[in-house]
Structure formats: structure tokens, C-alpha cells
Amino acid sequence: MSGTTDWTRRTAAELADALATGEVTSVELTRAHLDRIAEVDGAVHAFLHVDAEGALAQAAASDERRAAGTPASALDGVPIAVKDVLATEGLPTTCGSRILEGWIPPYDATVVARLRAAGLPILGKTNMDEFAMGSSTEHSAYGPTHNPWDLDRIPGGSGGGSAAAVAAFEAPLAIGTDTGGSIRQPGAVTGTVGVKPTYGGVSRYGLVALANSLDQAGPVTRTVLDSALLHEIIGGHDPLDSTSVDLPVPAVVEAARQGAGGDLSGLRVGVVTELGGDRQGTEGWQPGVLARFQESVDLLVKAGAEVVEVSCPSFVHALAAYYLILPAEASSNLAKFDAMRYGLRVLPEGIDNPSAEDVMRASRDAGFGDEVKRRIILGTYALSSGYYDAYYGQAQKVRTLISRDFEAAFEKADVLVSPTAPTTAFKLGEKIDDPIAMYLNDLATIPANLAGVPGISVPSGLADEDGLPAGIQILAPALADDRLYRVGAALEAALASQWGGPLLDKAPELAGGPA
């Protein structure tokens, strides 16, 4: 790790240690990250809103707790960025949409409340595809985020802002949300780590819902251990979320530390044939991504794991099921943006004394972007009588088949692996008006959301064709999130020793520019 005086290059675990030994204060390292944001975010555009004043005040309070010998958590004083889909009291929350421009929530999401209680200064809110619909952040109403590895490329989506902030060393930690891969796919294409916990493992209270039965918030970090430390803080039962699982958070930090030792003896790893596991350069799978995946699998074997091939035949229908279930739930969720109680209100032109419905129609047309409109209309269609059984009803049955495939696969293997995304980051604009091409990016990540199982994406290296990061996805049975961390940490250690350091050390220096 270069530049030992540059606090932004350190991992969250290292920062926590430096705070504990008094080597640095939270104010100093929060200021270092704010300076970094001012320096590079003009080029990256990871943030929609930066709260320098609030972050420094929280940092000062953290330093006082530390001085009094009463730190609130292992990460007290380590700053964090939060995806703009989570409600933050007193801080704008737009979900990347015009319809929420200027809205300031009167309450905190539970995840945000837990971050505050644990003492993590909140640097700001990160960019995202509008209402988390997309795989590139190009659907943000406030302009795209740029991939720190190549500013002409997408940082993934929908949580491209959180991933890019962490990859560009603007924040050591971030929160993302994952409905079909929005934490894991950005992780893969930016060379960072992202975790989608078990459905119900992290509270959804205050998370503006895209698809309630699929959404899950989770950590976005540069290392597996950092994700575990953050997972421990945000996870656990919340009475404000009726789908929250009333069980203790799995021992994720312990698993990450144990995994870093590198011994995976006795572990059974299932390579999923239908998710690039046949290693053929079949349609849509980039050879360089598959090559890095194979190398990672070989390293798992070297660490003592046994590899088995597993077939999950229903996974080929996952994308279709997802693009019926998600729009259906989204069309219902987004009905609340009615221009009556909060958000944008637009008066229609050419109508005297417009009715509430006229105002709703005009406001929703002006406030929602193309992708949101596409999905609302598709969802309205899928839920309408006459089509319900053929589409939405069938999609729910396919969901059952996918869960059964997972159950069968987890009989044969302790964890499943696949490449996280079929390709490296594509160019900004390349797929913006081709929804199907965009959707295919989530091919490998969607099954986990449909079945509620946890997944992690860990950097697997750079693809030969373009020198851009690729990721490997590890999936575990529901509630066994600790396995992700054990395997992820072991792989991360093996890969780092091969590369001679973290993958992000290979990323190009970002030129400083006006923010």
C-alpha cells in the first residue's frame, strides 16, 4: 500500500486501528476524504450531495467519544457514503429522480440510524439509476457516474455512485442496495467488494422500495473484512420492517478473519453451469471475464476446496421472471409519487383549474425518466386482468423453481460461484437505448434476489481484452452469510499475493479537477 500518509488509501479496518491507537482523529480522516471528493468528484460524479459540515460535526463528536474512552462501535469515526435511495433526516434524498428533487426526509432509514448510532460520519449521498432501475447509473436524472478505471465507462448500476466513490478513494465505505445485482455488479466492474445480505438480514425501513420482495441493503467496500465490519453494524432485526429476520447477524467478521488465513479444506464449491460455469465463450460472456473466473476457481482448489459442477436449469428463466416481478412491484410502489404530499408538483399546461388527477399525470410525466416509465407501464400490464396469470403468476412460479434449484445445489455444495457480471464495464451511452442489452448484465446476479439468498462480489482481476476489472460472485444459503466472508476473504488473500497488492493499486491515477 503506497502513500502511508494518505488516509484515503487505507482500508476501513486500518482506519479503525489508527483511530484506536490515536494515530489519527476522525476529523482528520473525514477531512481527508472530503478533500479527495473535492479533488476528483468533478470527474467521477459519484456524489449527488456532499455534507461536509455534517460529516465534520459527526467526526468531532466521534473524537470526543474516543477521548472519553467510549467509542460507539469498531468503526466509530470511519466515514461512509450512503446511496441516495436511503432516507436521511435533514439530508436530501432523491433516488436519482427529478420527482424527489429537493426532498428532505423527516426521518432516518434504520440503516442510516444504525450508522449514526455506530458513529460513522456520513460524507454524503451517492448517485444511482433513477429509483435503482438500471445497470449503469446512466438513468440518473442528475447525470451518470464515471468509472474510476476509465472515465468513459459505466461504473455499473444501480449503485454506481457508491461503488465509484469507494473505488476512487472518496470514501472507505459505502452503503448500496441490491434488487437484481445493484451492489454486486457495480462491485465487479469497479474492482471493489459488494455484499447483498440474506433477504431480511438488513432492515428495509426507510429504503425507498423498488421491489419490496427483492430489495436488500448491504456493504460496498474495498476489502472483504471491511464489508464484514459494516455488515455487523447495519444487520440485525428491526421491528420497523415486517420482513426483517428475527435472528442474530451471522458471525461475519469472525468468518472474514478466519478466511483470510487461506485454508478452505473441506469446503465444497459449486460452479453453476448456467451462469458462465461451462467456461465456454458462449453468447454474452466475455472471454477475459471467464478466464479470471477460472483462475479464481483454481485458487479456491489450491486453498483446499473441492469443486463440483452444479446445474440450475431454471436459472435461464430468472431474467424473464425478474423483469415481470420487478416492474409489477415497482409500478405499485411508485404509485405513491402522486404530487400531493411530497415531491414534485407540476401543473399541466392549457388546463384551467386542473384536477388532482391532471396534476398527478403531469407531475409523473415530468418527474419520471424513460426507464421508470417503461417499467411502470410494463408492470401495470403484467398485473392487469387477462395477463396476470400468464405473466406475473407464472413469474412467481418460476421463482419457486429457482428456489428449488438453489436448494438442490446447496445439497451438493456449501457455496456457489459464478462470474458476477458477464462483461467488464461497457462504454457510457453504449446500451442506454437498448433495454434488453442492459438487462442482460444482471443475468448472474438476479437468481439470488429471487431466492433471497446472500451473495458477494470480489474482484477477480483484470480482463485481458480491455484491462478492466472483473468480479467473482459467491452465493450461500439463506442466513449463511458468514460463508461468503470466509470464502471471499480466502480468495482475496490468494489473489492479492498473486497481484502483489490490492487490485485497486493498478487503477489509473485520477487527475484532480474542479468539483
Binding site: 426532498w103 428532505i104 423527516p106 426521518y107 433477504y199 431480511g200 420482495s213 421491528p239 415486517s242 420482513t243 431454471s314 428463466h317 431474467l319 424473464a320 421472471a321 423483469y323 415481470l324 404509485a335 404530487a339 400531493m340 404530499r341 411530497y342 415531491g343 414534485l344 408538483r345 399541466p348 383549474n353 386542473p354 384536477s355 388532482a356 388527477e357 391532471d358 396534476v359 399525470r361 409523473r364 410525466d365 424513460d370 416509465k373 417503461r374 407501464i377 410494463l378 401495470t380 400490464y381 392487469s384 400468464a390 405473466y391 403468476g393 407464472q394 413469474a395 412467481q396 412460479k397 418460476v398 419457486t400 423453481l401 433495454p435 434488453i436 429471487l450 433471497g452 439468498v453 439463506a478
Partner: protein, 99 residues
């Protein structure tokens, strides 16, 4: 091959209370047909005996104790309102001209 016509899109947009203009309808209708075509295969996948899954992790009857807890104040609840009057949300007329 399923297809959503331009008229159907206009009807669906009406149901969803989105005022699409002609250009948007021209743009969205063919895209929606392509999307629908790509997901249509699903209608033949699962047989009748497969139960549907609405939630991956089934939980039923989640209750809390029936105790009063603090909620938002009227001021907080109204803080994002486009218009307000006498501690209430002020909205455009909700009845038709003739009513």
C-alpha cells in the same frame, strides 16, 4: 408473439397516471413490445402444480405490541408538501367540474 400496441400503451399510461405525449408513445411502444417478447417464454415454463412464491423468506403474522410510540409531528409530515394549509396537505380539486 405478444405485442403491446401504441393504443394499449396509452391506456396503460392512463391507468398509471402518466401523461405521455405522442413522441413518448412512439418511442416506448416498440421498446415495450421487445421487452415483452423477451419475457414471454415464461408463460410455458412452470406447470400448474408449482406453487407461486411471493416472498423468498416466508414470514407470517408479524405483530408488535399494541403500544403507542412517537410518530412524526404534523410539521415534520408536512415538511415536504408542495402546498399546505391549516396543518393539512393542500391538493388540487378532487372532484369533476360537474360534481
Amino acid at each position: 408473439m405478444p405485442e403491446i400496441t401504441r393504443d394499449e400503451v396509452a391506456h396503460l399510461a392512463d391507468l398509471a397516471r402518466i401523461d405521455l405525449d405522442d413522441a413518448e408513445l412512439d418511442h416506448l411502444a416498440p421498446q415495450l413490445s421487445v421487452i415483452l417478447d423477451s419475457v414471454a417464454s415464461i408463460s410455458a415454463v412452470a406447470s400448474d402444480d408449482i406453487p407461486p412464491t411471493s416472498h423468498a423468506i416466508p414470514l407470517t403474522n408479524v405483530f408488535r405490541e399494541d403500544v403507542v410510540t412517537p410518530g412524526l409531528t404534523a410539521e415534520q409530515a408536512l415538511s415536504g408538501a408542495p402546498a399546505q394549509e391549516q396543518q393539512r396537505f393542500s391538493v388540487p380539486r378532487i372532484l369533476g367540474d360537474e360534481q
